[in-house]
């Protein structure tokens, strides 16, 4: 990466909001880290497949955050959005004017991180912001942290359960040039709450974009959290995203990651289980074609006894697409009676498609149950013949089988309207692929 690009980024960073107190200290420290670490190169083991260095080019712009109207967002709104709280990022900047907060203040706190860092929630921000850095000590994470001044703070207040979802739209506007967006969210879920949060990543226009995001969530005692990430960006989009979940009380978290498009997508999901008897589910579905690469890196950190985690990632890889899965499970010395399951299943459709999978288990306790498994296969020929022998055309037989393969993951989206929405995206995609294939 050239000095000119670093200078450009540095200049941009020094003009962002949040230039006082803890946040200024945090972002400057992160900027220094970024300059020290640089962009991860291919020889970096964690970044073997996701080649990000080529994304840092001089023509990258940061957007103004003002180019987008509410009407631009309409096509990407999630189901029953009229009832939901909708939070919008444009080119990585939280945009209050485009957001609709439909929960009341006693239930939900929403404000720019730069305001939250100096107000009554300052302590919380100090305690939680940047917790993910230890899990990904690399320059790209540090770079996002350096831009936290344009980020978002959300807090679900104690004892509050809602059916109304919280939708976060992360929109990169590629219509006027190559845009570099860095959304950042700190999302606190206080005790005894129930909440559903979905992030939707999309691109406006078909130009090039690069989104580098960090979403940090902390769930307290007796919280029930459902988190869904839908990555459906443009064909020229690159994406590095980290979802970092901490369980600081005994609670239940359910995360579903859906990747549908883009050029190169990296999803990190960290599950830090800090308290006994925590439970977490992590599911992922990648539905890829063209030359798309999707790289899912997950970490489950079992710190205390009796935690349970269950992980299933599936990929349908058409044409020349690539699926990568890397699943780390750490079981620390004190974390006896851990139950951790991990499974990765891939169907290769395209002749040039490939799947790479690597489980990494590091276990320092002796009384644990951990398992992992992976499959890479073609579509089941026997099943295809059975369906065709009943009159289903090759294309619909294939769509039916692939949809069935994906169903395990779709079923994990507990919020029914959202499940139907994602199901429709998936079905459309399968029909589209098949249409292409004919």
């Amino acid at each position: 990466m050239s000095q000119t690009i670093i200078d450009k980024i540095t200049e941009q960073q020094s003009n962002l909001p949040g230039r006082e107190g803890f946040l200024a200290e945090f972002t400057d420290r992160s900027m220094a880290e970024f300059r020290r670490l640089g962009i991860p190169a291919v020889k970096h083991e964690e970044w073997r497949y996701t080649r990000v260095s080529g994304l840092f080019r001089l023509e990258m712009g940061f957007g103004t955050g003002t180019s987008v109207t509410a009407a631009d967002i309409d096509a990407h709104r999630l189901p029953d959005h009229e009832e939901a709280t909708e939070l919008v990022f444009i080119d990585g900047r939280f945009a209050p004017a485009l957001s609709n907060i439909r929960h009341n203040e006693k239930e939900l706190v929403v404000m720019p991180l730069s305001d939250a860092a100096t107000g009554e929630h300052a302590d919380k921000i100090r305690a939680h912001l940047g917790h993910s850095a230890a899990y990904h000590p690399d320059g790209i994470q540090a770079l996002n942290a350096a831009f936290a001044g344009i980020g978002l703070f959300v807090m679900v207040r104690k004892g509050f359960a809602t059916e109304k979802p919280i939708y976060i739209y992360c929109i990169a506007d590629s219509r006027t040039g190559y845009v570099f967006a860095q959304p950042r969210t700190l999302f606190l879920v206080e005790a005894a709450t129930q909440v559903m949060v979905a992030e939707h990543y999309v691109t406006l226009g078909s130009g090039e974009s690069f989104t580098n995001e960090v979403f940090e969530l902390c769930a307290e005692q007796d919280a029930v959290v459902e988190y869904v990430k839908i990555q459906d960006e443009g064909p020229m989009a690159s994406h590095v995203g980290t979802t970092h979940v901490r369980q600081t009380g005994r609670c239940l978290t359910n995360a579903v990651t859906i990747s549908l498009s883009g050029r190169m997508v990296r999803n990190n999901l960290n599950m830090v289980m800090e308290v006994e008897h925590g439970e977490s589910h992590m599911h992922g579905l990648s539905l890829l074609n063209g030359e798309t690469l999707v790289d899912n890196h997950t970490i489950v950190d079992n710190m205390q006894p009796h935690c349970q985690s269950n992980e299933l990632y599936k990929a349908v890889l058409d044409e020349a697409s690539t699926g990568v899965f890397n699943g780390k499970i750490f079981v620390r010395k004190d974390a006896q009676k851990t139950n951790a399951y991990q499974s990765n299943k891939n169907i290769l459709i395209g002749e040039k498609a490939s799947a790479n999978t690597k489980p990494q288990l590091e276990i320092f306790a002796d009384d644990v149950k951990c398992s992992h498994g992976c499959t890479v296969g073609r579509l089941d020929e026997e099943a295809m013949f059975y369906l065709r022998a009943r009159g289903l055309g090759e294309a619909s037989a294939r769509a039916l089988l692939l949809h069935a393969f994906a169903a395990d993951i779709l079923d994990r989206i507990g919020h029914e309207p959202l499940r139907r929405y994602v199901d429709r995206l998936v079905s459309q995609r399968l029909a589209y692929d098949i249409h292409n294939g004919q």
Partner: protein
Amino acid sequence: MLNIQDLRAGIEEMEILRGIILQIRPGEVHAIMGPNGSGKSTLASVLAGRSDFEVTGGSVEFMGKNLLEMSPEDRAREGLFLAFQYPVEIPGVSTTNFIKTAVNEVRKHRGEEPLDAVAFLKLMKERMKLVQIDQSLLSRSLNEGFSGGEKKRNEIFQMAMLEPKLAILDETDSGLDIDALRIVANGVNQCRGKDNAFLIVTHYQRLLEYIEPDYVHILYKGRIVRSGTKELALELEEKGYDFIKTELETADQAQQ
């Protein structure tokens, strides 16, 4: 309806079907018997269009068309049905939805309107009675976790729904208890008509007591070596296949 002439097929270098000749006319029921490995399932698979097998010679005409040129789905849409010896389990695909799709594919091919939900349910209820299959089974994933007998019953149910012109049943009786056997046979008998035909692969004379065949053929080493009426099945039951083998060997020696 079906005219098989000198059909030869195999897998890689191995020839499994070595010159099959068989004609089936509308309204007829043919039974095929023969020792394990003689090629019965291979014949059924080749007719249904399984691509594992390579046809190396002969011809098959079905309803006046060249069957061997058609894709498996077109064969099904033209009215050929194979009840599998080992029905495939397909997790995540609902049995009912699948059957509905299949029925409507066939209707589309015939230039008929697709059945709407109400009409489909009505048809389904009616045909369910025919094979005494339970609703709960049909709301599950296709064949997933079905018992052997349930799978076979589901095959016959699908046959009843699709109303094929020619139904090939590959050992549908194997693994059925006496009651299920009677139910399946009853289902077949109710579907019998002057315009449709059956090719029934079986090892047991027992099934043929319930479904009376017009012809019985014995397949041995990829050829039909004897054809007769239902009495042939009785003779087999009594004497086993040895008498056929001995006869053939004697004939071979006489030729040399």
